[in-house]
């Protein structure tokens, strides 16, 4: 697979505060890439640098093997879908979509028939038929999203950047647009770079997921690998499905604030030592239950549980005050009820834990 976009050591600072601190990444052609990062990690800055609204302080950006840093946005051929859609308020749906075709500086389409035909095709593709003459104030959020996407896709960019495209939609619509965005992308065959702060969205959407942390790409891999093998404790923390202990490896155990945790799982080098165990890998047992040799056991007091349909999340406080979360899938067993402030044993297999050294 050839790379459509390559970033080499891209730096960008605002008033001395670094937003991007050496981004290296390569995005493959014809894929859905999601970019996950907590707020303030530089996601939007990265998108704006790629689109050309901001200039990088140093580094190289190659788009289809051509250097584009320094090229003005309107000559880059990269589509950008704004979080707030940024539709032209004085133009109708069809006029919004036709804008790029008729007004671009490079190779504008002057034949009104050709424009009308391409606008009609793209309106069909994104499912907006019948709304061509509506004002942008007379359509719903999901429809605005589609107009914004159609307006970009009709110019046939080789790559589309989406800045939290589902952030402005309500939960129901968000789920539906996830599927639609993927379908639309497959039909167009271009690379989408989808920026999001939601780990579930990033995992669900991306063929490749990039994790941005403090202005650097912390990990770049497929969703499955990311979820089960985060590259560092910080990445594990963004995924919001790991209990993480600080500490250090000493001998054949990990010395953590809640005691020594026996090693046995995967050890990864990340520079920042930590011990991580996924919420759904932990079993809750009475304190007097037996523990097998390959298991790790700690004790904690039950606080509360949260029911989320297919699973139930139980919260415990450990002896050092830290909160520990356990996710139990209800398909495995009927939900047990736990006594508030009661002591329970939390047990997991040694090899399920991730150890960062």
């Amino acid at each position: 697979m050839s790379a459509v976009l390559q970033l080499k050591n891209v730096h960008k600072a605002f008033a001395g505060v670094p937003a991007l601190a050496g981004i290296d990444a390569s995005l493959a052609n014809d894929t859905y890439v999601s970019l996950l990062g907590p707020s303030g990690s530089g996601k939007t800055t990265l998108l704006r640098v790629i689109a050309g609204f901001e200039q990088p302080d140093s580094g190289e950006i190659l788009f289809s093997s051509r250097r584009i840093d320094g090229v003005p946005p309107h000559e880059r051929g990269i589509g950008f879908v704004f979080q707030n859609f940024a539709l032209f308020p004085h133009l109708s749906v069809a006029e919004n979509i036709a804008f790029g075709l008729t007004n671009r500086a490079v190779d504008p389409v002057t034949d009104a028939k050709v424009v009308a035909g391409r606008v009609r095709d793209i309106i069909g593709l994104v499912g907006l038929s019948g709304l061509e003459d509506r004002a942008t104030t007379q359509i719903s959020g999901g429809q605005k999203q589609r107009v914004a996407l159609a307006r970009t896709l009709v110019t046939e960019p080789s790559m589309v950047l989406l800045d939290e495209p589902l952030g402005a939609l309500d939960a129901n619509l968000r789920m539906r647009m996830r599927g639609e965005l993927r379908t639309i992308r497959e039909r167009c065959g271009v690379t989408f770079l989808h920026v999001t702060g939601s780990e579930t969205e990033a995992l669900a959407m991306g063929d490749t997921v990039l994790v941005l942390d403090a202005g650097r790409i912390a990990q770049s891999t497929d969703a499955d690998t990311l979820y089960s093998r985060p590259a560092s404790a910080d990445v594990a923390r963004f995924l919001n499905c790991y209990n993480i202990f600080p500490g250090a490896v000493s001998g054949d155990a990990f010395a953590s604030p809640v005691g020594a945790l026996a090693l046995g799982g995967v050890k990864q080098t990340s520079g920042n030592p930590a011990y991580a165990i996924r919420y759904d890998r932990v079993a809750i047992r009475p304190t007097d239950a037996a523990t097998a040799d390959d298991e790790v056991r700690i004790e904690a007091s039950f606080v509360a549980s949260e029911y989320s349909g297919a699973a139930i999340n139980s919260f415990f406080t450990l002896d050092d005050g830290r909160v520990f979360e356990v996710e139990t899938h209800l398909s495995h067993a009927a939900p047990a009820t736990y006594e508030e402030k009661g002591r329970y044993a939390l047990v997991w297999k040694r090899e399920d834990a991730l150890v960062f050294v």
Partner: protein
Amino acid sequence: MTMAATSHDTPVETAERPTRKQPDRTFWLLAPGALWMLLFLVAPILMMVYVSFWTQTTFKIEPTLTLKSWVTFFTSDTYLGALWTTVRIWLIVLVSTLLVGYPAALFVGLFVKNKTLSTALLVLCVIPFWTSFLIRVLAWRPMLGKEGAINMILMKIGVITQPIEVLLFSELSVIIGMTQIYCVFMVGPIAFMLGRIDPSVIEAAQDLGAGFWRIFRTIILPLSMPGVVVGAIFVSVMVLGEFATSAALSGRKVNLLGNIIVTQVGSLKWAFAAVAGVVLTILMGAVVAALLRVVDLRKEL
């Protein structure tokens, strides 16, 4: 006793309250303004129309209805000339305030990203208004005069050998003065509309491949049109009613309808002044109506 009864009744009446109380409140909120306008705007205008048909003799005016003042107005070259001068100066000043004001508004409203700074710049535009109108007008005399600053500088650097006389006491000086005084009324509304344009809309147009002039023509200009229309209404109404600037800067060479009214009132020719007043009012009404047709302000604002 009444108070107690009212507060006691309130919960019982809530259901019918909105329908019964609403017209009441509307009436009381509108009454002061409506009364004021009726007494001091509508009544005087009607009076002016009425007086324009009175019979004017050299020393007195009688309420005997006649068309004589109207006939005199529309058959006299002087008065028709004043009407034409008024329209011409209005159009020139409107265009020049737009040409000077729009770029300034574009800078303040769109290119200055910092909201505090753009507000500060708009306030700067208003600073000349801290001085009196007359001083602002008269200050142009030492600037434009035969031995004024501009002529002196141009002669010093050798661009001209004779002072340019047309600078002061001419139509040009009236236009220069009015443009300077009324420009800010054009800048304000346009800058306000430009400031409301979402920056990401312009970035979206850039991203779709449009260059600056394309974006200006297709996005920025249409979105700022309501500001242009409001500014044009401000400038038009003020310029059409002008008399002081032309009196001070034209040396009585430029006579606007406003100057005619001042002279006629000064010589107690009330009927004649009323005719000029009615003509001016109709002209302003027509101009404002025409400008409002350009943009549907209710929809855009």
